[in-house]
Symmetry: C2
Subunit: 185 residues, 2 copies
């Protein structure tokens, strides 16, 4: 089971960390020791507006071989949804059986064409921006439709991480990881 976390300039780091942490515990606590992941970027570096800079483990590599891709949001999505170079790279994830987004990350899944005929969600301030990319916009915190799972604003990232833990390892994993993170959402 191998995941690609997608990072980019203008990312929101809590969108990433919120889903990354429960999945990390899923592995370290032994529920899914087979889990692996890469930190994937189209550019050699990825920083947010505040200067927090993460180094990708892979740059521009084909995304087709993963079991899941996870796309966070952030202000950078507004430009990237029109960046053909980035979108062509993201489209290499076409064969991936689970395409997952947090917050405005769904604008990128949408711009890549993955949300056509799907119900999807995003940050509540971006419902209108998402609409042209999908069949219908959900106002739920997490929406699963076929091969796409999309989550709402920022802190929904944690709920998404726990949702994936439950999906991949069952209720007990969700309960334990929620407890160890002392999550009260």
């Amino acid at each position: 089971m191998k995941i690609a976390y997608i990072i980019f300039n203008g990312i929101n780091w809590l969108d990433l960390a919120g889903v990354y942490e429960p999945i990390s515990i899923l592995r370290s606590a032994g529920y899914r020791p087979d889990l692996q992941w890469d930190i994937c970027s189209w550019t050699p570096e990825a920083a947010d507006e505040g200067g927090l800079r993460v180094q990708p483990t892979l740059v521009g590599s084909d995304l087709g071989g993963y079991d899941a891709i996870i796309v966070p949001g952030g202000k950078g999505t507004r430009a990237l949804q029109h960046d053909e170079g980035f979108l062509q790279w993201l489209r290499t994830a076409g064969p991936v059986p689970l395409k997952i987004s947090v917050c405005t990350g769904s604008l990128l899944l949408g711009a890549a064409g993955f949300l056509q005929d799907k119900t999807a969600t995003t940050h509540f301030k971006s419902y209108e921006a998402l609409a042209p990319y999908c069949r219908s916009v959900s106002h739920e915190r997490i929406t699963e439709d076929g091969d796409c799972i999309t989550a709402g604003a920022v802190t929904a990232s944690i709920d998404l991480g726990l949702y994936l833990c439950r999906k991949w390892a069952g209720d007990e994993a969700d309960v334990y990881i929620r407890h160890i993170m002392d999550y009260r959402g």
Copy 2:
């Protein structure tokens, strides 16, 4: 108003991102446009156990001139609390008026000597490890005592961030930022 975020090998990224995000919005939404921060490390790189690697903006620089330092937790704290090189660097934060930690970051504040005669908290599984460093261990989610503010396990980082927003910009900032992050904790 200038903050030093402390990063290190074995950090928990959600401990950092959870407090970093509300403070970032505090600036970008215009409540505290004077806010600045550095990402400070004792070593040239800082990665977690899962391979997520963040680049510090400053390495080994004196911490004495900041208005606040924020120290996340993570498994790396267990070794760092006995690393004299790291602790001597952290002790340069002595004059800083606010020494703040998330989760097991309080073990580092404690090992540096900042929690003597203080009430402090940490991850609920580390209450015993924190005890020798402080006057008393609190089981509250956030504990403020003099120049030290300590928070509990992982997701308490978000509550801490909102607590600091309220402290630095008032209730309205807290309410707005909680809303925009869609935080339900």
